[in-house]
Structure formats: C-alpha cells, structure tokens
C-alpha cells in the first residue's frame, strides 16, 4: 500500500504527532511569555494520549491486514491491540506525571511531556514494525527518548547516573542487535519480515550457523528491551534513578513494546517459514526456555532483599517478563494469546503499584520500605489497601487479575508440554509471595513509630488508583470479554 492510502490506518500515530507538535508549540509560547510553570502542556498531552487511544479503538473494528508505507509497517489486529495498550500506558504516565511532585517541580515541563509523547509514538511504531530498518529505528527512537526521560531530574545525581548507564548499556545492546540484523539482511537478502521468512528456506548449511549467530544477537537486543535475564542489568539502576512516572512507563510501556517486537519477529519473521526448529535447526525452544527460567528465578530472588520500593518493583518486573516469556516459548497462537492477556493484566496491576509508590513518595519524600511502616494506621489506609490489592495480584493470588493472567500463561505452557518450565514458574510465584507480602505486612501489621509522620492523601489523587484496583478486582472475575479481544488480536499478519 502506498503512503497516502496507508494514512487511513495510521490514525493513532498521526494524532500523537499532532499532540507532540501542539505541546511543543505551547511550550514555545509559554517560554516566550516568560511563564515558567503551567498545567497546560500536561493537559494537552493528556488529551493527545486520550485521542490516540480513541483512534486506536476505532481501528479495532477494522478487519483489514495490510502492509503500510512500502512494506515498512503492517496493520493487523495484533498491532492495534498493542497500540491501545501502549496508548493506555502513555495516558497513565501523563496522568501520573501531572500528580508527581518529582516531575512538577522541574523546569521545562513542556519538554518533558514532548519527550514522553515521543516515546509513546516510538512504541506504537515498534508494535507495527515489520521491517528490520523500521524495527531498529523505532527501537532506537524509543530508547533515545527514554534515556533523556530517565535523566530528567537534572539536580539528582542518581537520575543522571541512571541515564548514563542506560545509554551505554542501550548503545551496546542495540549495536549488537543491528550487527545481527546486518547479517540477517546479508543472508536472506531482505529487510522485511516476510522476505526474511522466504529467505530462510533457501539457506544452505554453513549459512545456517551464521544465521543463528545473528539471531542470538537480535534476541539479545530484544531481551534488553523487555529486561530479560541476562540482558536485564540496566533495569534496577534505571528504574530506581528515573522519576516514578517514567519508571512506570518504562516498566509497562517499554516492556510491552519490546514483547510486540519479539513476538512479531520470532513468530512471523523467522517462525513463519515453517515449524521453527525444522527449517533453521535453530533451537529457539531451548533458548527461550533457558531465558524464561533464568529471568523468572533471578528476578524473584533478587527482589527478596530489596529495601527500596522502586528497586523491588524493578526486580519484580524482571520476574514478570519471565512469566510473559513463558507464553513466548510456547511458540503458538495460544502462547501469543496468553502473552497479550498477561501483558494487559500486568499493565493494570504494575501501574497501580507504581502509582501508589508515587503517591507515598509525594507524601513522605521516601521510597524505602521503612517509610511504609504502619502506613494504614497513619492516614494512608486507602492507598495501603490499593497497594495490597496490586501486590497480591502481582503475586498471583486467586480472585485477582494476576491469577487469571498467570493461569493462562501456565495453561498454555502445560498444553505445549513444558511441564518443567511451568513448575519453575509456580515455584517462583511462591517465592515472590514472600516479598510482596512483606510490604503488605509492613503497611498493616507494623506499628508506626513516633518518627513516622502522619500522611494525607487528597481524594482526587486516589482516583486513578481506585480505578486500577477496581479493574484488578473485576478482571479477576469477569475476564471473558478480554479473552475475546485477545482472540481476535492474536492473528498476526504474515505478508
């Protein structure tokens, strides 16, 4: 499809681009008039994100599956589903930023929201990229904006240090990935995923070894984006150093976009050529199993001893990447479906947890566990209750959304016969219960001490948290509609 026709399927991206321009222009105008602080950039950004979601939701009903822009992007149910999810993540991040003391105190808020929206736009492109060039560019676009967002707290050394580490690590990871991509291009003679799938079939034996090397490098690059072991090491530092809304956005949005790329490339680029192992003799299944088990285990074990809530949630999010990888390892439509479902649930509960952490950081100025002591008994009953719901859901306890998510992922694994991996996953859930419950215990069972000041929360600050905790509860019971959505979204356009 040529460029003008493609625009019809490009609504969310266009809306976001317009919103970016609007925030930029608004910021220029405000600066010219010497206005330092204003709510307007944030409000415009919020409206832009909402409009993008609206546009994406409208596209959900379009059944077409097309190449866009000369085989650079694709339009299919899979990408639209991710666009809605990423749009929601962006919306939440903007909303969080509006209420975050960390962000609101900074100069150049307009710049911040511009970068946040740009990062969101890049992630939408990642979800739809079906060409090595587009994949690389959108991934780098998202990374570059994330680096700057991470280092946004200019007067905070931790923030700048995290940004620098993120940048160096990201530079090396994407360098390795693009090197692998260059070999894939050379071996298959094609840049778009359909061409690559066709090219793989014609590989001769020695080329297959080289192809595997390239594949490992690409997998490492994607692994960095979803923060899977052993490519996760940037995550704890970056999550701890970045402002909380950015951390939440990275943990939810960046991870989802990374999974979109991972699934599309391996299932429908490399995998579309036929049963994976048979054609390429690439042991993707074993590789994936290894990564998945290591990610779950290491993330949970490292989270056990954390005292800083952001760092604890960082390791927890690594562990959750592991659970989602289990769906990836299944290498079938059922697996894709489970991953989509899991990422959605993960979006709700993880975002909620970060949101409460931000509210408490706003109120107390601290992010470490001791400052949560007796939170429920000194004015923070509602946020404490919400956080307890999110954490129990993250641990995967039954009546909550997290349980359903894990159920589908593990179910897909059992169906595929990956019993050992599922056992590892279940054991990990048990381990994770320990550190989640520890936080709940600190909030409810520990007595507040004399030096723990009472905290106050405005009700409208709690609105979003209330919404998310309600969603966590409801999705634990009524999830059939989401399953139906996922069912239609899982079919990926293969050219």
């Amino acid at each position: 499809m040529d460029a003008t026709q493609s625009l019809r399927y490009f609504g969310p991206e266009l809306v976001l681009t317009a919103a970016i321009m609007a925030v930029l222009a608004l910021d220029l105008g405000l600066t010219a008039r010497g206005i330092e602080r204003s709510r307007w950039p944030g409000i415009v950004a919020l409206a832009g994100a909402a409009a993008a979601i609206g546009s994406a939701v409208r596209l959900l009903r379009v059944p077409a599956r097309e190449w866009l822009f000369g085989r650079m992007l694709v339009f299919d149910g899979f990408s639209v589903y991710f666009k809605v999810l990423l749009g929601l993540a962006l919306l939440a991040a903007v909303w969080m930023s509006l209420g975050s003391r960390e962000v609101r105190g900074q100069p150049n808020e307009g710049e911040y929201f511009t970068l946040l929206l740009s990062s969101g736009l890049a992630m939408l492109l990642m979800a739809a990229a079906a060409n090595l060039l587009m994949a690389y560019l959108s991934l780098e676009f998202a990374s570059l904006t994330s680096y700057v967002l991470t280092g946004f707290l200019r007067h905070n050394r931790r923030s700048a240090e995290a940004a620098l580490k993120y940048l160096i690590y990201g530079g090396v990871a994407s360098g390795a990935m693009i090197y692998g991509m260059s070999w894939i291009f050379g071996l298959t003679g094609s840049m778009d995923y359909a061409g690559i799938a066709a090219g793989i079939a014609q590989l001769d034996d020695p080329s297959r070894g080289a192809f595997f090397l390239a594949l490992v490098l690409v997998l490492a690059g994607f692994g960095y984006k979803v923060a899977s072991v052993p490519f996760h090491m940037w995550a704890p530092d970056v999550y701890t150093g970045a402002p909380i809304p950015v951390t939440a956005f990275l943990a939810v949005g960046s991870k989802a976009a990374g999974f979109a790329m991972l699934l599309r490339f391996f299932h429908f680029g490399v995998g579309a050529a036929g049963p994976v192992g048979a054609v390429t003799r690439v042991p993707l299944l074993q590789l994936g199993t290894l990564l998945c088990a290591a990610t779950m285990t290491l993330g949970n074990l490292a989270a056990l001893s954390q005292q800083n809530m952001k760092r604890l949630l960082a390791y927890s999010s690594i562990a959750h990447a592991g659970y989602a990888l289990l769906g990836f390892v299944v290498f079938a439509d059922a697996g894709v479906q489970a991953v989509l479902f899991y990422l959605t649930v993960y979006y709700i509960m993880n975002l909620g947890a970060f949101w409460v952490v931000m509210l408490i950081a706003n109120a107390t100025g601290h992010e470490d566990l001791p400052s949560y002591r007796g939170l429920a008994w000194r004015g923070g009953a509602l946020p404490a209750l919400a956080l307890a719901i999110f954490l129990f859901s993250l641990a995967g306890l039954p009546p909550l959304a997290g349980f359903v998510g894990k159920f589908y992922v593990f179910g897909a694994g059992v169906e595929r016969g990956l019993i050992a991996l599922v056992v590892v996953g279940v054991l990990n859930s048990v381990v994770s219960l320990y550190y989640y419950v520890r936080v709940v215990k600190t909030m409810f069972l520990d007595e507040p001490r004399a030096e723990d000041a009472p905290v106050h929360f405005a009700l409208n600050d709690l609105a979003a948290v209330g919404l998310l905790s309600a969603a966590t509860l409801v999705l634990g019971i009524r999830f059939d509609w989401l399953l139906a959505r996922v069912e239609t979204a899982r079919r990926i356009f293969a050219g």
Binding site: E140, V148, R154, I168, G186, M191, P230
Partner: protein
C-alpha cells in the same frame, strides 16, 4: 575498497572492527572513549550492510547505513548531554559542601604522600609544601566557616565522600560535617597547626629526617581533621587512632635514643588502654541502638534517638552512664587525665614543635572535643558528668602541684597542659560546654606559644632544658621573652588576656554547680600563676646561670621561628575576645560574678608576685622552703612517683602474663584457628560474588557473556 575484493574480506574486516569496539566498551575507563567504541561498533555494522548490499545488488542495505549513522549521532549527542548534566550537577547542587570539606582533609593528606615519595630528594620543596598545604587547608576551612555562617543558626555543612561500611543493617558513611563546634576545632587545628609547621621549618632545619618529620606532621594534622570533621563515631575513631599512631611516631622521632623510643611506646600503650574503653563504649552504644532497630553511630542519629538511650539499661546500669564513662575512659587516655596522664610528660622526648602540636592544637584536645560533641548524650547521664568534673578538677590541681617543683622547662609546660585540660573537663562536667571549648581555643594559642617559646630558648642555648642553668635571657632573646611573657600572663589568668575569660567562665560555672570544685579550680589557678611566673623568672630574669658553652652559643632565633611566636602572641593577648561560646550557642554561661573575677585576678597577680619574690628578689629562699618541706617536696619533685607505682602494679604482672601467652597460647590455639579459617575462606572465596556491581561496564560484559553463553549452548549441545 578494491573493486574485486571478495565479500568475506569485508565481513572479516567488519567483524574485527566490531570486536575492537566491544573490547573498547568493556575496558576503557573514560566515558567519552566508551562512546567512541560504541560508534566503532556501529561503523562495523555499516560496513557489513554496505558489503552485503553490494553483493546482493540491493539498495536497502545502503539506505539503512544512513539511518544507523543518524542514530549513532543522536546517541552520542544525548550521551554528551547527560554527561554534561552529571558534571553540572556536581558543580551546582552539592558543590558547596562537596568540594570544600573534603579538601580540608585531603590537602594535608596529599602532603604526606609528597613527603614520603618525593621529600628526600627535594628538601627545599618540603619546606614550602609541608606548611603550605596546611595553610591551604586553613584557607579552605575559613571559606567553609564563612559559608556555615551564612546558614541559619544550627546549620550544618555535610560532605558525603562515600559509603564506607554497609554491613547488613549497619551503615557508616565517610561523611564530613561542619557545624559550629567542628568549625572552631578545624580552624584551631589548621590555624595553629600551620604556625607550628612554619616554625618547624626553622627548628628542624638540617635534621636528617626532615622529610619524614613533615610527613608525620602532615599525617598528624590529617588524622586530627578527620577526627574533628567526622560525622559519625566510627570515622571519629579512625581519626582518634590516627592521632595516637602519629604521636607514637613523632614522640619517638629521634628513635636512635632509646629513651625517646620508650616514651613513644609509652604514649601509644597508655592510649591503647583508654582506647579499649572508648571502643567498648562504642559497642555498647551501637548494640543498644541496634536493639531498637537503629544501626547507626551518626552523631545526628544518636541525638535523634536519645529517647531510646534514656531508658535503656545494660546489666542493670543505665546505658548513658555506662557509655559516658567508657567513652570518658578513652578521653582520659587521649587527653591525659588522671589516672592515664603519665604519657604526656614523657612525650617531651620528641622535637619541641611536636610537643606544641600535641599539647596545643591536636591530640590532647580530642577527648575534650569528643565529649563536647556528645554533650547531648552526656546530658542524659549526670552521674557520668560528675565523674568527668571531679576527675577534671583533681587533675587540674594534681598536675599544677607537680609543675611547681619541676626544673625542666618543657616538663613544667607538660604538667601545665595536663592541668589546663583538667580545667576543660571540669567545664564539661559542670555543663559549661561552650566555656570548655572556649578554654580549648585560648589554650591552643598560649600553650602553643609557650612551647614554641621554650623551643626557641632551647634552640638558642644549644639544647639546654634545665631552668637552673638559664636566667637573664631577657636582653638576649627579646622577641622570645616578650611573646612568652604574654603567653604566661594569659595562662596565669591576668585580665584582659585570653586565659582570664575562658578560665573564669569555667570556674564560675563550677561554683554554680559544685562549689567545692570551684574552690579547687581557684587554688589550681593560683598555682598556675605561680609556676608560670617561676618559669618566666628562672628563664629570663635574674642573673645568668648559663654554662660556659651556652654563654657562647646564645642567640635570638631566626624570623621563621619568631614570626609564628608573634602571631600566636596576638592570639594569646586578644583571643579572649573571640565570641566562641556565643558561636556555639551557649550564651547563658557568660558573665562571671564581679567578686569572683576580682578574686581570680588577685590570685593570678599574687601567684606571679610570689614567683618574682622567690626566684628573682630572694633567690635563696626556695631552697630553704624545700628543705623545710622535706619529704613532701621530694615527692612532688618526683611527680608523686606515679610511674613507679604503675610499673609495680600493672606493667610487671602484665609482662609475666604476656610471657605465658606468647609461649603457650598463641602458637597452638590462635595460629591454628587462624590458619584453618584462612584455608576455609580461600577455598570458598570467589564462589559468592555480587553481580549487580553498579558498574555499567560489568553490565555490558554480562550482556555479551549472556549472548556468548546462548551461542555456546547451541554449539556444545
């Protein structure tokens, strides 16, 4: 590109470039170079793309090159911006505290390295660098003090150098802290220390160990500054031990003479006894706080958790009293109080400027400073404070009595120091912390001056120290005489010189709290005036009793020595007008009653007059008095024979026990255990290592190792 070169040629080249880039990322230390290495990796990618594109006849590969280059440029730009932000951060937000405080300590420390490694070859440079660095530290301290003054009252400058210990719940950071108290101390240590360094250049000229001497002196200053600026007691202890070590090194500086080495050893050992108490006190403190969940020894944290300490007990004893007494035990060692004062008089064995440094600016004030620092803790333990006051008063009197009968000029001054420190502890004990620190400051001026003046006399007489063989030096050493006279009047407490104000505040506070101790203080003050007057009269007035060779040798010291004397004299005269107590926020203590001031002045003048009568007008009388006193005079002259007592009661039994330990217990039990443990650790070490190091290059290495492991898994399958 040669047109006919095969594809593999390019691929090989690009692989090599990529590998070089990877290695660069992993091993280079400079962040800019790391970025260049990443660019190198991306260029290798470009090369592969172009090579493949040419061999495939496809344009796609060449298009992507442009994008990769653009991304690379963007990455570099963002990276540089973040680096800039990092650096700007370092200069704006924390810079004030960050830069200044640590330099106060680092400058003298740099001097140590200079003297050790370069000193012997560049004596001339040592002469400049040694005092210069301490002077620079003084300048930094002055700047920091001004910055502190700009803060609201009770403000603190902090400089977090690094996290030093993080063991489980316990955390000790190497944090330097400047508040009013530590600012006063830092200024005294660097200021008076600087003058002593300058003086030393003259005094030590020509000594074989010139560079070594300055290395020790700088190290001494560094340790004392760490002690003073430490934000937590663990770091304070480092400085505490550091000054102990340096005093050992400096007292035994001329180690060729066995009695000097013995004096150094004695100072070290006696200090160890005190330090054992100090350490025990720290353990009790950290254990008590830790039991309540506060694993810290930060001074500020301790003050925040006083409630916990107030009610805590250990073995039925209230913790504040136990901790207070144990820490005070450390203070009696370091600050030469009864019963651990015995090392200080012997410490005269070192070069005279060292005596000045130990007695005036550093070391001995450590105990006073420590208790002043923890006055909030001591306020919880009135019993411990009473002990401090009584010991202080007793020491003040005891040492003053001994000083009246000594004939060695430095020994008189040594006992005078012990006595004056007793005053400071008396002040601390009766709750007059501000007055005690005030006396510490004024004492630093006049005692440094007295020691340096004595050094000047000894230098001028070619090594003579016995006052019975001096006399009549006023005309021959005028600068030394007048400056020492000023210091003498100041220590005697003649208004309006420095000693008058600070001593009066202590004595009047003592009268308010414990009148008996106030009387003791007054008696000691009269004795102080007498022995100071005696020292001045015997040395400078009356007729000359010089030996024949000293008569030839006598001369005024060079300007490098007399100039510090003159500057210190200004401090000794005018130091009483420094607003030290007000600076420390203890305004209420000022203003002794007029009657007391008159009485003290009368005693001071009377003591001096008596000394003049006895030693200049009627020089025959003292001998008659001594004869009349008989045995008691002998006892005083022999310093109450305390050293002999300690020798019989402590030292001999200890040696006997040590013998047993050395022959029996050590080789079998201890060595066996240690070696066994060592083997065990060696066997298991390297198994457990922390992965999340915080170093991004380790992360990158881990990333690549991960990729390699995946590959290896495939290959070795």
């Amino acid at each position: 590109m040669p047109p006919g070169a095969p594809l593999t040629w390019y691929l090989g080249l690009s692989a090599v470039v990529f590998a070089i880039g990877t290695v660069g990322v992993l091993v280079r230390r400079n962040i800019i170079v790391i970025f260049m290495a990443i660019e190198l990796m991306l260029n290798a990618v470009n090369l592969t793309f172009v090579a493949f594109a040419r061999s495939l006849g496809s344009m796609d590969g060449q298009v992507i090159v442009f994008f990769v280059m653009t991304v690379a440029a963007a990455e570099a730009a963002v990276g540089l911006a973040i680096i800039l932000a990092l650096f700007r951060n370092r200069e704006t937000t924390n810079a004030d505290e960050l830069v200044t405080l640590r330099w106060i300590v680092l400058l003298p420390a740099a001097g140590v390295f200079f003297h050790v490694f370069l000193g012997r070859r560049a004596i001339a440079a040592v002469k400049v660098v040694g005092p210069g660095l301490v002077g620079a530290a003084f300048a930094v301290a002055v700047v920091a003090a001004f910055r502190l003054r700009a803060l609201p009252e009770g403000g603190i400058l902090r400089d977090h150098v690094y996290t030093w210990i993080a063991a489980g719940p316990f955390r000790a950071d190497a944090v330097l802290r400047l508040d009013a108290l530590s600012a006063v101390m830092a200024l005294v240590v660097t200021g008076v220390g600087f003058l002593i360094h300058v003086y030393s250049v003259g005094y030590m000229s020509g000594d074989r160990g010139f560079a070594r001497y300055f290395a020790y002196l700088n190290l001494f200053t560094t340790a004392m500054l760490i002690l003073v600026l430490a934000d937590n007691l663990v770091l304070l202890f480092v400085g505490w031990e550091g000054v102990g070590l340096c005093s050992y090194l400096l007292i035994g500086f001329w180690y060729e003479k066995p009695e000097n080495a013995a004096a150094g050893k004695k100072a070290f050992l006696v200090n160890r006894i005190g330090d054992a108490g100090f350490l025990l006190g720290l353990f009790v403190l950290v254990w008590t706080l830790g039991r309540h969940g506060f694993w810290t020894l930060d001074v500020a944290e301790i003050e925040r958790h006083l409630d916990v300490l107030r009610t805590a007990t250990i073995g039925g004893w209230p913790v504040p009293v136990v901790v207070g007494l144990l820490l005070f035990m450390g203070a009696t060692g370091k600050s030469a109080q009864l019963p651990l004062y015995v090392w200080l008089p012997d410490a005269m064995a070192g070069p005279t400027p060292v005596s000045a440094l130990i007695h005036a600016a550093t070391m001995v004030t450590a105990g006073v400073y420590m208790i002043a620092r923890l006055h909030a803790l001591y306020a919880l333990a009135p019993a411990a404070l009473t002990v401090v006051a009584v010991v202080g008063a007793a020491t003040a009197l005891f040492a003053a009595v001994i000083a009246t009968a000594q004939t060695d000029i430095k020994r008189v001054l040594a006992y005078s120091t012990v006595s004056q420190l007793g005053y400071m502890f008396l002040g601390l004990g009766v709750g007059a912390t501000g007055a005690a620190v005030f006396h510490l400051v004024t004492h630093a001026f006049f005692k440094a001056l007295l020691f340096l003046g004595a050094g000047s006399v000894i230098h001028g007489l070619g090594g003579e120290q016995d006052m019975q063989r001096m006399g009549g030096l006023r005309e021959r050493m005028p600068v030394t005489f007048w400056t020492m006279a000023a210091a003498g009047l100041a220590i005697a407490g003649v208004p309006p010189l420095a000693g008058f104000f600070s001593k009066d505040e202590i004595v009047s506070s003592a009268f308010r709290e414990m009148p008996v101790l106030g009387v003791v203080g007054l008696v000691a003050a009269a004795l102080t005036a007498y022995y100071t007057g005696r020292l001045l009269c015997l040395t400078f007035l009356g007729r000359s009793r010089l030996s024949h060779e000293a008569e030839h040798h006598v001369h005024e010291s060079p300007p490098v020595m007399t100039l510090p004397l003159a500057i210190l004299a200004v401090g000794a005269v005018a130091g009483g007008f420094l607003p030290v107590p007000a600076l420390l926020g203890h305004r209420g203590e000022a203003g002794a009653p007029l009657a007391l001031m008159a009485l003290a002045t009368g005693l001071a003048v009377g003591g001096l007059w008596l000394a003049y009568q006895l030693h200049v007008v009627h020089p025959a009388v003292p001998a008659q008095v001594a004869a009349r006193l008989g045995g008691f005079y002998q006892l005083v002259r022999d310093k109450f024979r305390v050293d002999e007592l300690y020798d019989a009661v402590v030292i001999r039994p200890l040696f006997a026990a040590a013998d047993v330990a050395a022959r029996g217990i050590d080789p079998k039990l201890i060595d066996g255990t240690v070696n066994g443990t060592g083997m065990l650790v060696a066997a298991t070490s390297g198994v457990w290592r922390r992965l999340q190091t915080g170093n991004v290059q380790h992360y990158a290495l881990f990333f690549l190792l991960g990729a390699l492991a995946l590959l290896g898994y495939y290959v070795g399958r």
